[in-house]
């Protein structure tokens, strides 16, 4: 009996103009959306390849350990084609430094060749599905009961021994089997565009992610069908039901996200990063002062009037590279670095307390926004989608956490190899070839440095040395979350959406039991 009514509704829906319009909308919007997303992803990949090559080049040119600054370039998320999420707005690279904890990615955020085109607003596949499917679900369900009542067919159906619960199930099923093919077609069309593009290759985990996304979309569709049914069961007239449905749609899809965004900023305030920068600058200033003090202290300990350099590159960020300098200068730098670099790490720890507080604030604010936006099934679906597609803020923050862990590994490596207190931290020159000041003075007196006779030993120049072999230095690796991990991460939201569906189902059962069929 349920299937009979559902089949009837399915056939009637198929021949309705709303089905044709809905199908055509998907047919037009999905390909355009996907083409733009695929193009965006290809641009991101191109930028990624260029940035990665540059980072590799820099890595391969390092000649002293103080210049080891691993540059992390984040690979674009292929599933970002479907759900852009935070991807593309947060930069794509970051240089690891001892003096600071990695906070947020920098580098290319927009990937369009023409920056003026960044004004172009494009929505992703998931957003299209969220908008279209919710609209279609409401359009097909808002008059499920009111239409039958107005046309008098409901009376006739109920005189044939159909229970209200069976009728309700049948009506739900009728809309569901009408819309699932449209949803399936949309997914097939989008995956076809991906498959036909030779530049994109999805892993099996990514295909599984798309299947899970399809599952989430079905759940989302069901929630909106049930919402339409609740509205229909509460309304006496179709004209009332359509107005209420459209208002609900606008509220849930457009107003709730905006309200959540705005409210989260009021409820969970975060101080501007400029305040944090002020504290960081202050800590850096103290660190520099202490470094200057230590400079004088070591100089005094070594009985040096000053520090002379032949060939020195360096800066406040810890980069230090010396060639052709006296033994005293090298020793001075070794002692200074042995104190300065651990102190730099301590300073980074102090800075991190401020940065972490700020970052936690950002997370709290985002979390508040997320929780507030759970008032909208559309937002829950979008959050599930970005979690499944690994483009959620949580995925991003996990990535950043992994970078910080990598920095810790790198520091442990430096400590383990006692690099801070070694000459190799700042020079490749063999310490046996370091000349003492006394020796230099003797050589000067002997006329060794006369411009006519003097020829700079090649090992006094940085260009004499080959880059370091950094094969045993830890490299950054990031194990992308597999589909099961993504599902686990979004399980709470899936359960939330499911619970919302069950709640709406119970409401519609309750309301429809009292529905006046006359």
């Amino acid at each position: 009996m349920i299937w009979l009514i559902a089949k009837k509704d399915f056939i009637l829906n198929l021949t309705s103009s709303r089905f044709v319009i809905g199908f055509l909308l998907c047919l037009v919007i999905i390909p355009f959306t996907m083409v733009v997303s695929v193009d965006g992803y290809k641009n991101q990949m191109r930028v990624y390849e260029v940035d990665r090559a540059e980072a590799l080049k820099k890595w391969q040119e390092v000649k002293v350990y103080s210049a080891v600054r691993p540059e992390i370039v984040k690979e674009p998320e292929a599933l970002g084609i479907f759900t852009r999420g935070i991807e593309g707005n947060m930069g794509n690279s970051l240089t690891i430094r001892l003096g600071e904890y990695p906070l947020l990615l920098t580098g290319h955020a927009g990937t369009r060749d023409n920056p003026l085109l960044n004004a172009f607003f494009s929505i992703d596949f998931t957003t299209v599905i969220a908008i279209l499917m919710s609209l279609l679900a409401l359009v097909f369900s808002f008059d499920l009961f009111t239409r039958e009542r107005e046309e008098g067919t409901m009376k006739l159906v109920f005189t044939n021994g159909v229970s209200r619960s069976a009728f309700l199930m049948a009506k739900f099923l009728g809309v569901f089997i009408t819309l699932v093919p449209i949803l399936f077609f949309s997914f097939m069309l989008s995956t076809l565009i991906v498959v036909l593009n030779p530049a994109i290759a999805f892993s099996s985990a990514e295909w599984l992610g798309i299947i899970l996304l399809f599952g989430a979309a079905i759940l989302y569709l069901m929630v909106f069908i049930l919402l339409g049914m609740v509205i229909s069961a509460w309304s006496k007239k179709s004209s009332t039901a359509i107005v209420v449905s459209l208002l609900a749609w606008v509220w849930l899809l457009f107003l709730v996200p905006d309200i959540a965004y705005y409210s989260s900023q009021s409820v969970s305030k975060v101080a501007p990063y400029d305040n944090v920068l002020y504290s960081l600058d202050e800590l850096d200033r103290v660190f520099r002062e202490k470094t200057d003090e230590k400079w004088g202290e070591i100089q005094k300990q070594m009985g040096l009037d000053g520090i002379g350099h032949w060939n020195w590159s360096g800066g406040y960020d810890g980069y230090d590279e010396l060639y052709g300098c006296t033994w005293e200068t090298n020793e001075f730098h070794r002692r200074l670095n042995a104190w300065r670099e651990p102190a730099r790490l301590d300073n980074a720890d102090k800075k991190w307390t401020f940065q972490k507080e700020w970052l936690d604030g950002l997370q709290r604010q985002e979390r508040t926004r997320q929780v507030m936006s759970w008032l909208s099934p559309s937002e829950i679906f979008q959050q599930i989608a970005s979690s499944l597609c690994r483009t959620s803020p949580e995925s991003y923050l996990n990535y950043m956490q992994r970078i910080r862990e990598y920095r810790a590994t790198l520091i442990a490596y430096f400590h383990g190899k006692k690099l801070f207190e070694s000459f190799s931290y700042f020079t490749q020159q063999d310490p046996k070839t370091f000349l003492t000041i006394a020796k230099t003075q003797q050589m000067e007196e002997e006329g060794f440095f006369d411009s006519k006779n003097f020829k700079v030993p090649p090992y006094w120049e940085g260009s004499y040395y080959l880059p370091l072999n950094l094969d045993d230095v830890p490299k950054f690796t990031f194990q992308k979350q597999n589909a099961a991990g993504s599902l686990k991460a979004s399980l709470g939201l899936v359960v939330g959406l499911l619970s919302l569906g069950i709640a709406l189902f119970l409401v519609v059962i309750g309301v429809f039991q009292k529905y006046d069929v006359r």
Partner: protein
Amino acid sequence: MLQAIELSKRYEDGHLALDSLNLEIKPGEIFFLLGANGAGKTTTINLFLNFIDPTSGMLTINGIDVVKQPLLTKKYVSFVSENVMLYGNFSARQNLDFFANLGGKTNLTRKDYYNVMRSVGLQEDAFEKKLKTFSKGMRQKVGLAIAILKDADNVILDEPTSGLDPKSASELMQILANLRNKGKSILMCTHDIFRAKTVADRVGIMKEGRLVMLRNREEFLQDDLEKIYLHYMQEAIMFDDANLKS
């Protein structure tokens, strides 16, 4: 058999729509329930079909309590409404097929549907046409065909002749007579006193929720039914006017 015992219905707004109605329609009987608008005719039908619950009293269809076993009683009753709309994008045959299946008749063929549509006087060329192209009379015939196909023991009709041309109304009466001959209990609510005179076995007049007059065929043919009916209608109109003035 349709039976109402001390049946009352008071709506949420306090209006007493039905007041201690006692009614019994036997197999092979056509009962016409007459009355002005708001007299309680449609309420009676809604109670028999369990669209609303009675405030007090009891209803049975073939001896089964309508309130206690609503789904079971639906097996034994067919219904034809005043405005048969059905599914406009389905053909007449598709509508018949759907409702026949819903009523449990799953082994009917296209020929069976055509036969029943012929029996209610529907034109052959209309069988496969979409219902939205049908006139009201044609739709009523399809509604009746659905009721016939269900082959239930009891048939309830709510103002079925309203808006029908005289020929169609006359055909409808003939169909009802045929159903009576098959032993069906028929309850028809109507204003159409003239049709009552042609086929009704008994006639009841309702006023303000009460059955104020009950006559069998011999009695109402002997009496001047129109006069009696108009008398009650006039009282109803005067009552309405008084209410309006107050």
